[in-house]
């Protein structure tokens, strides 16, 4: 029996039973699949190792750039202090409330703007102006209005995070394929039916993209407002205090916690996204 001249390419599944290749190849294939994971871990580890070496030998200033081992120790110290849960929970509450309220406002306003043409056209210049405004600048104002408590942070978070949801809801509800609308019209669908069966499903991927952005924005809003209030609790305040005490390793430990918080947020949003928008084409992209 003549062997086939063309070898199957790496991506093609092979019949395991008739695979004439020795197990070493299988191992290499497995390695090939996990290669980028390995490289990614190596990249991170070598970066931290170089940093550690440079800081330990005082080639870079160890007070300002503490070695990663010191930051890790500081992290472990930090999460066991009695004041840490208070700061953490306050920030979590601010982000959660700001995100919930802000995205609800964004959704409702976006839907209103998408459905009522006159409102959309009237408010269009204001939407552009608001988009161009760097909204963190409103934080001191909200502190004047709502005081030093969590309310002013929630207000800042809302002001920053409602906007991506609004714009994405508006665009998603509007950019519907012409043919789909024609089909529904030919079927004599009501406005409500068109909204539920075509516009909303079309908008969902946009809305979720907006929600993801707005979650990060809510974190920005809460943290910036915390920077501005001297007497408040919160992770942003904690970073600032440690920084003033020149305890950079502890400040970095808080930064790590905020990153983890952000990562958890993204992963949760992504999981919900996958459940809700199960039909999305996920090929391509990074």
């Amino acid at each position: 029996m003549a062997k086939p001249a063309i070898r199957p390419s790496a991506g093609v599944a092979r019949d395991a039973k008739h695979d004439p290749q020795p197990p070493l190849h299988a191992l290499r294939r497995l390695w090939g699949r996990g290669e980028h994971v390995f490289l990614a871990v190596m990249l991170g580890v070598s970066f931290l190792a170089i940093w550690e070496y440079l800081a330990q030998h005082a080639i870079i200033e160890p007070v300002l750039f503490p070695p990663p081992s010191k930051t890790a120790a500081a992290w472990w110290f930090l999460v066991r202090t009695e004041y840490f849960p208070r700061h953490f929970l306050v920030t979590l509450y601010e982000i959660g409330a700001g995100f919930a309220l802000g995205s609800t406002i964004g959704l409702l306003l976006g839907t209103l703007l998408a459905t009522v043409r006159l409102v959309r056209l009237t408010l269009y210049p204001y939407i552009i102006a608001f988009q161009a405004l760097p909204k963190v600048v409103l934080a001191p104002l909200f502190i004047v209005w709502f005081g030093f408590g969590p309310e002013s942070k929630i207000a800042t978070a809302i002001a920053i995070c409602f906007f991506p949801v609004l714009v994405n809801t508006l665009v998603g509800l509007q950019l519907v394929e012409e043919n789909a609308l024609k089909l529904l019209r030919s079927l004599r669908a009501t406005g409500w039916q068109t909204f539920v069966k075509v516009r909303l499903p079309n908008a969902l991927p946009y809305i979720f993209a907006g929600l993801k952005t707005s979650l990060t924005f809510a974190m920005i809003g809460a943290i910036v407002a915390e920077f501005l209030t001297g007497a408040a609790n919160g992770l942003g305040r904690l970073v600032q205090i440690y920084n003033l005490q020149i305890q950079v390793h502890l400040a970095l430990a808080v930064v790590v916690i905020v990153s983890i918080l952000g990562l958890i947020g993204v992963v949760v949003m992504d999981a919900i996204d996958r459940r809700v928008i199960f039909w999305r084409d996920r090929s391509g992209g990074v």
Binding site: L43, A132, T216, I220, I223, V224
Partner: protein, 291 residues
């Protein structure tokens, strides 16, 4: 107006070409009102908003410390703007925004282009991209002050890390997603790697890259203002916190309005550049659907 003849014209384009059907008198007014109503309403809304604000403040419904009247804000405006020091604050902020924008954008574009070349490195980088994206960069602002001092360097650094990422990511995505057929055509013409990049990948990535540029300009502004909130000697963010501490509320409103105007100016500048550079973008079609 579209140039190509084989694309059917939209209704409004047809009307522009042929001229509107002639109407006169009351009917003309009605058409005019129908087409321009939203502009009148927008202006009306603005006037009504200012009037309501003025009345609420004038009758003392809300304490003037919380909500000073628009007239009070207008009165302090010359005092806020008309000082040499203010020009210094404004320049400090603008220089920091542009410095961080150029630095972060340059690094972002360079690294994005580098990593777009190799699929393996894209996969390797992915977890770090995800982690960096999920972290709100403003949390690093106090550390930037510790690392780079109270001068403009810390502001520029904060703006750099703020706007590095959107340009990096969009360059990476834009350069990676190339239409297969176009790629095959380039190969069949024996185009070199550089030619493929210059003639195909780069132009195709430009709209995506510019979308990143727009986002990153916003992030640069946020970064600079937040850094100025925390600790610097100059800048609009510094002005704002100074008035905040002095409880000079009308002055705060004035500074916020100025920052808004700076934001608008930056926004329209980048939109204009975008339209000049990415002149073939299909956005006008999308815009027309938004009406």
């Amino acid at each position: 107006m579209r140039v190509s003849a084989d694309v059917p014209l939209r209704q409004d384009e047809l009307e522009t070409l042929r001229g509107r059907p002639q109407v006169s008198g009351f009917a003309a007014l009605r058409v005019h009102v129908r087409d321009k109503l939203h502009w009148y309403l927008a202006v009306l809304l603005f006037v009504a908003f200012l009037t309501a604000w003025q009345m609420i403040a004038a009758y003392g419904l809300i304490h003037e410390i919380i909500l000073p009247s628009p007239l009070a804000v207008a009165k302090v405006f010359p005092e806020v703007v008309g000082r040499w020091l203010f020009v210094q604050h404004l320049t400090a902020t603008l220089v920091a925004i542009f410095g961080g924008f150029l630095l972060g954008g340059g690094i972002g574009f360079g690294l994005g282009a580098l990593f777009a070349l190799s699929e393996r490195w894209r996969k390797v980088l992915y977890p770090y991209v995800l982690g960096f994206q999920a972290t709100p960069r403003v949390i690093l602002a106090p550390l930037m002050i510790a690392w780079f001092g109270f001068g403009p360097a810390s502001k520029i650094a904060q703006a750099t890390i703020g706007c590095f990422f959107p340009i990096f990511l969009n360059t990476l995505i834009g350069l990676s997603l190339v239409e297969d057929n176009a790629f095959k055509l380039m190969r069949s013409l024996r185009a070199s790697r550089w030619q493929t990049f210059r003639l195909l990948r780069f132009p195709q990535a430009l709209p995506t890259i510019f979308a990143g540029v727009k986002v990153s300009l916003t992030f640069a502004t946020i970064g600079v203002i937040v850094a100025e909130f925390i600790a610097t000697e100059y800048g609009l963010g510094y002005e704002l916190t100074r008035y905040h501490v002095e409880i000079a509320i009308p002055q705060m409103y004035a500074v916020i309005i100025i920052v808004g105007m700076v934001g608008l100016a930056l926004y329209f500048t980048i939109e204009w550049i975008d339209h000049r550079v990415v002149f073939w973008r299909q956005e006008d079609v999308e815009r027309s659907k938004l009406r």
